[in-house]
Symmetry: C2
Subunit: 288 residues, 2 copies
């Protein structure tokens, strides 16, 4: 496994790989790898000749009031984990390499970026789209793997790839969960034991909605389901604020208000909840 | 020479060319080709194995009040000219192929897009950057040739390519002029004979500034030069409005106010002038 710190060096390697007809699988990450990331790497490994993982905490996707400087980092551990998974290259640039002083080009994906996380974190997806396009151009991957955990991010990347005719296939890999259902996230390390226990209720709330719709065939207004999910989460005292609970078309992210006459639509049920200063997101997709 | 109307077909061809290590030279145009375009094609031909010309009048770079529907088109003539120049492929997509109904991704290049044309045509360079990135991803070119005539466009494309780590070299080709100095432009066909004669004074004004600075070593405030250039243009009665005459750093496009202490800077002198409804631009670059 080789660690690449420079764009020019990385591109030289990937250009040579392409001429040798190698399939490059890519997993972009912000490091502090957990089982969720490893499942993306495993998925990439299966379908490629060469796996590249990037580790870069992207300042452009954090707002000034967010946790950029505090975001957890542990490169030595990440390196070990990548090696164990058979990763071929880690692309690990520093900030100046990716964003020189006069950097001024941005990608905006309208519509799908607007609601949900985009409403609470304006400019977040501009930062995500911009870094992902840069990384794609550097690693020149045949495909890239993203996690379903960041559902809106997956939609934004897919839309960007489609709209800009980017020659990279986007693969979305299922969310990996702890035994009690909590979605794996680098931010879980911030949780106190009490918050950690209560955080499992996010998935319980999502599962409640899935059961109502899929098993009990609940077929009416979504307001009732949201209310019940909200109650379930608020029953945990460390859950301090629900940013949103939302039902959306899983591709366009248009909000869904009722389940009536909604045949064969694929619905994204997503939520964001704060436990003190820690903000967690989760989601499931159901097909009616 | 083959005419390609579909993105998927084009990409299949260019991917195969890359695997055969062919150098693809690309000239993006809006058609209605003139000597200026042909000089770009000749420049591409010299350095490549395969030349692709795109012909696409890009709606995204026209404001609602601009001349998108009236922009001159003559594909049959363009086809003949390309064939004569030894072009290998014309990429000639229709609007729906490039912009499906739910298209919503845009590239913004801040700073260099803000002044000059960008001030008068807001969103113009967003449209230019977006279509150029799409075209690059489709034709997968090693290099692309743009004209110095659209100086700010050249700066925007260069900056985008640098910032987004796009694997395409940008070549800027000199402006081709009529015998009296008028820069070649598809919009010149709109000029009445009187306007056409007066339009030559744009270049005369630029040449006046060049002479003052380079030969007479004029070394002071730029306001005087601008005033003289303006007088010269306004002396022609069909020149109805000067949008701007501007002196800028040729790379960053920062405005230059004085020539004092300005050693070894490369200065872009550019102007935009209206002859009735026809708006013409021109520029020169001088190195002190």
């Amino acid at each position: 496994m080789k660690i690449l710190r420079k764009i020019s060096e990385t591109r030289k390697i990937t250009s040579a790989l392409i001429l040798r007809k190698k399939i490059i699988g890519f997993v972009p990450t912000m490091g502090y790898l957990h089982e969720g990331h490893l499942s993306l790497i495993k998925a990439a490994k299966k379908k490629s000749d060469v796996v590249i993982v990037s580790i870069f905490v992207n300042p452009l996707q954090f707002a000034p009031n967010e946790d950029f400087t505090k975001y957890p980092r542990n490169f030595k551990k990440d390196e070990k984990l990548c090696r164990a998974e058979g990763v071929d290259y880690i692309f690990y640039p520093d900030i100046k390499e990716m964003y020189p002083d006069d950097f001024s080009t941005y990608i905006t994906v309208e519509n799908v970026s607007a609601g949900l996380e985009g409403k609470i974190r304006p400019e977040h997806f501009r930062g995500v789209a911009t870094i992902v396009l840069k990384l794609f151009n550097i690693v020149q991957c045949s495909f890239a793997v993203f996690g379903q955990k960041d559902a809106q991010q997956a939609c934004v990347i897919k839309k960007m790839t489609e709209d800009l005719n980017i020659n990279t296939k986007i693969i979305i890999s299922p969310t990996v969960r702890e035994n009690d259902g909590l979605a794996m996230s680098s931010r879980n390390v911030y949780l106190t034991p009490g918050q950690r226990a209560d955080a499992a209720y996010l998935y319980k709330a999502l599962e409640y909605a899935r059961r109502k719709i899929m098993l009990e065939n609940y077929n009416r207004d979504i307001a009732f389901l949201k209310g019940q999910m909200s109650k379930l989460i608020k029953s945990r005292k460390t859950a301090t604020k629900i940013d949103y609970i939302s039902f959306n078309n899983s591709r366009t992210l248009e909000e869904v208000q009722t389940l009536k006459n909604l045949k064969s639509a694929s619905i994204l049920i997503s939520l964001a909840v704060r436990f003190g200063k820690v903000r967690l997101i989760d989601n499931i997709v159901i097909k009616r």
